[in-house]
Amino acid sequence: MIKTEAAPSNSGLFKLWYHRMASPVWFYRISGKLLPWLWALFAVLLVTGLYGGLVTAPADYQQGDSFRIIYVHVPAAWLSMFVYMVMAVSGAIALIWRIKLAEMVLVSCAPIGASFTFIALVTGSLWGKPMWGTWWVWDARMTSELILLFLYLGVIGLYSAIEDKRMASRAVAILALVGIVNIPIIHYSVEWWNTLHQGATVTKFDKPSIHIDMLIPLLLMAGAFKVFFAISLLLRTRNELLERELPRKWVKQLVEENDG
């Protein structure tokens, strides 16, 4: 057996990376190094996106300057669904492989997702009053987005109601997976039923029906929101990790280093 010392094969490398990723110590160290870069990227995207959206983008032919709320409403609404997908996939990983880190990502997603759902609902309401003439109606798009908020709140509530955190994570993972059925309903609600909310502008298999000068800032803002989600997810997961691993040696060492 001479070949045992040879370099690991591709699948071996993947396994190594996979187990490293799942190791709390490694995750804590790498995420700490990643965070300043993410903050910088977020700042660049946010500033260019806001400048583009509020200054350089032309006013809409029908809605005038009021349409500019799109630069907050749409990125928040996209993110509200994206965060849920991340949460449900982490839930599946946590259930199948029982990886602790996936459980922590799962529970860290919920408050972030709930916040963005709330922002999407509030900005939509503020936009609806002057344009449609109403703050709120029970059409399929708005109702399914409200259900998304309740799903997030359910995840948060269920997690804090169960004492044993590993057990709580598994219960929450099942809830998150059951709720995933709502995501396609939100997206296709405007096609399947008559709704007050208009159809998709960008996320369709057709050319986006928005002028390019308005689209670029929108995509920049969507990018900024995504990076912000990554930052808050990392921060929350790191907190959750420290809390759960508190009795471990590496956490104690970390605390001593910071004290000294």
Binding site: D60, Y61, G133, W192, W193, I210, M214
Partner: protein, 146 residues
């Protein structure tokens, strides 16, 4: 993947699939109730409820908006490009209300086939563009929508 993990994976897939199928069946059963509004075609076909409020949605037909000069009364025709229904309303219309615009009116069907609206909402389409671009188009996008 170990057999235990494979089993868990299948269980999760079965769970998601099961919930998906039941949701699809429920939504199918309630399809009519999920519709936010009826089109003029539905109303002409007698599908709109006679004894309680419902909503009608469509485009405002150009040249049919008639305002009473001494009050807030207004009436106009709404079309889905196959059938047309007349709507009368008393009150202030939303900013986006104009000829060719998609609107949704909530009200009752009168015996003469006119909808007496208690509320009129404007629907805007999914197109966003500067006014110069809209002016250069042969047709306003709002007229093409739906």
């Amino acid at each position: 993947m170990t057999p235990v993990r494979k089993k868990r994976l299948w269980l999760i897939l079965a769970l998601v699939l099961g919930v998906g199928v039941s949701a699809a069946l429920v939504l199918q059963a309630f399809n009519q109730n999920m519709m936010f509004y009826y089109s003029p075609k539905d109303i002409k076909a007698g599908q709109a409820p006679a004894n309680h409020d419902f909503r009608v949605g469509g485009l405002v037909v150009a040249g049919t908006v008639k305002r009473d000069p001494s009050s807030l009364d207004v009436h106009f025709d709404v079309t889905d490009l196959t059938e047309t229904v007349t709507v009368k309303y008393t009150g202030i219309l939303p900013d986006l209300f104009r000829e060719g615009q998609g609107i949704i009116a909530r009200g009752r069907l009168l015996p003469d086939g006119v909808v007496e609206a208690a509320e009129v909402l404007a629907k805007h389409d999914e197109n966003y563009m500067p006014p110069e671009v809209a002016d250069s188009l042969p047709h306003k996008p709002a007229e093409e929508a739906q």
